[in-house]
């Protein structure tokens, strides 16, 4: 079957970031720190991964139909519903009421959903059948068990 994303329990995205400024948040009562000029903002992973926080959801992948695109069973997908889907995007689509993650193929007005694993078939909508793109996958998070 396809990489079906279990939708039972949506995961909340933290609204605030945990990153703090490195310096410049205290009053200096003496010689200013020469390091202050070199202070940089810390990297905020949420800021990098989430462009539209109100429209972004995290979904967990089940299955290996997108293996060759680097999406594996158990990975967490960052799905942005504010991005307009285009040819070549990896998308979460709704096929017969179920979520599936596939690559969107849109050429000459013909839409199909392509898996990234040769053992899975392409999904080509039949006449009158609609494919609903639920959101565009912008990142896949893989965590290693350590």
């Amino acid at each position: 079957m396809h990489s079906i994303i279990k939708a039972g329990q949506p995961v909340l995205l933290a609204g605030t970031s945990a990153a703090l400024p490195l310096a410049g948040d205290c009053v200096q009562a003496g010689f200013p720190s020469p390091a202050e000029d070199f202070a940089v903002k810390r990297i905020d992973l949420t800021e990098i991964l989430v462009k539209h926080p109100q429209a972004t959801f995290l979904l967990r992948v089940r299955g290996d139909s997108m293996r060759e695109a680097g999406i594996f069973d158990g990975d967490t997908l960052v799905v942005d519903r504010a991005i307009k889907p285009h040819h070549g995007h990896i998308v979460v689509a709704v096929v017969e009421g179920e979520f599936t993650v596939k690559q969107l193929h849109d050429r000459a007005g013909r839409i199909k959903l392509k898996p990234a694993n040769p053992t899975y078939p392409e999904i080509i909508p039949r006449d009158g059948q609609t494919v609903e793109v639920w959101g565009v996958v912008t990142a896949s998070i893989k965590q290693f068990g350590v």
């Binding site: 939708a7 039972g8 949506p10 909340l12 609204g15 539209h52 926080p53 109100q54 429209a55 519903r81 504010a82 709704v94 009421g97 179920e98 979520f99 609903e132 639920w134």
Partner: protein, 122 residues
């Protein structure tokens, strides 16, 4: 000028986002302990189910009309509401949040409905 922003069948709409198989079916969300219907899809309204109607009075429709009753997931509805409210907040200089699915930004913006429909709720 005020804009009035109201999510349609809000709890059911929030559930539909993550359960696309429910689309087009009569669905109700039930209050704590599955007591009463507190949100109804348009299809459930068409079956004559009233707001606040006890579940035991309508559950026979599960068999006869394919009605789906869902236990409330208020954490999910709160999160979807926050998303909607923060979008609405960007449309005017001030905002008054009236309830989980109602708010009034200071003035109106025509693109709002499309944004919310596209972004979070269907």
């Amino acid at each position: 000028m005020y804009a009035h922003v109201d999510g349609n069948n809000f709890y059911v709409s929030a559930e539909n986002v993550f359960r696309p198989s429910l689309k087009g079916r009569p669905v109700v969300v039930l209050s704590n302990n599955d007591g009463c219907c507190i949100s109804r899809s348009n299809e459930a309204k068409a079956l004559g189910i009233k707001m606040g109607e006890p579940w035991f009075k309508v559950r026979h429709l599960e068999e006869s009309a394919g009605l789906v009753g869902l236990s409330a997931n208020f954490v999910l509805y709160g999160d979807m509401s926050d998303r909607m409210m923060s979008l609405a907040a960007g449309l005017g200089p001030t905002q008054e949040v009236y309830s989980i699915d109602l708010s009034a930004p200071g003035y109106c913006c025509v693109s709002f409905e499309k944004e919310v429909v596209d972004w979070c709720c269907d």
